[in-house]
């Protein structure tokens, strides 16, 4: 069965600290990968996505992620976090095949708290 696992459930950082959130997926075929962010009380917004090509992808607000196919991982990074990055972060995958329905399979989310 397809699944996504996010290793860190709750991360607390001080401003300017570096961030890395882990994401691993389980699926036998190729996938497209996403990171979404949910700020308090708001809807999910796309941070970045990987479909193909350069495995290092850059997203909005200084975030980037690296797809490592051999490790089935898509970790999210940011060199220096800000208080405004406090949010819930979700990794998601969708299988890439002809019968794909576009259904997103989400990880359980990571709560990031940045202290000023």
């Amino acid at each position: 069965a397809q699944s996504v696992s996010q290793h860190n459930h709750h991360v607390i950082l001080s401003e300017a600290a570096s961030l890395e959130l882990g994401c691993n997926y389980s699926y036998g075929g190729t996938v497209n990968l996403f990171w979404y962010v949910q700020y308090p009380g708001q809807h999910l917004q796309l941070l970045l996505k990987y479909f193909s090509g350069d495995p290092l992808v850059k997203g909005i607000k200084g975030f980037e992620a690296e797809f490592i196919k051999s490790k089935f991982s898509f970790n999210l990074r940011k060199p220096s976090v800000q208080w405004s990055d406090t949010a819930e972060y979700f990794c998601a995958v969708t299988p890439k095949h002809s019968g794909n329905t576009g259904k997103l399979i989400f990880g359980q989310g990571t709560t990031l708290q940045v202290k000023p």
């Binding site: 708001q42 809807h43 796309l46 998601a92 299988p95 890439k96 329905t101 576009g102 259904k103 997103l104």
Partner: protein
Amino acid sequence: DTAVSQTPKYLVTQMGNDKSIKCEQNLGHDTMYWYKQDSKKFLKIMFSYNNKELIINETVPNRFSPKSPDKAHLNLHINSLELGDSAVYFCASSQGQGATEAFFGQGTRLTVV
């Protein structure tokens, strides 16, 4: 302009009632979805429609019935509400069924008392 809009944003109701949540997207997308986010913030797909046709029904109780009058709208009707239905329900849309990104609405927080 809001791309994916849901109404209402908050819904508090008693057990046994019937309620509906409406969703509209103005992105011209073909595919719309309903996701449920539980109290632990875990997101799981419930339904997907492509051009008004149901393509995903993820073992959701038949008390939940989606309705898509046209490809820009996907409403969710829930009969005989139970305490366990309390959650945040997100509508989303994407262009086609392929693996393009999904755009989410602001969510409807349903509380059943």
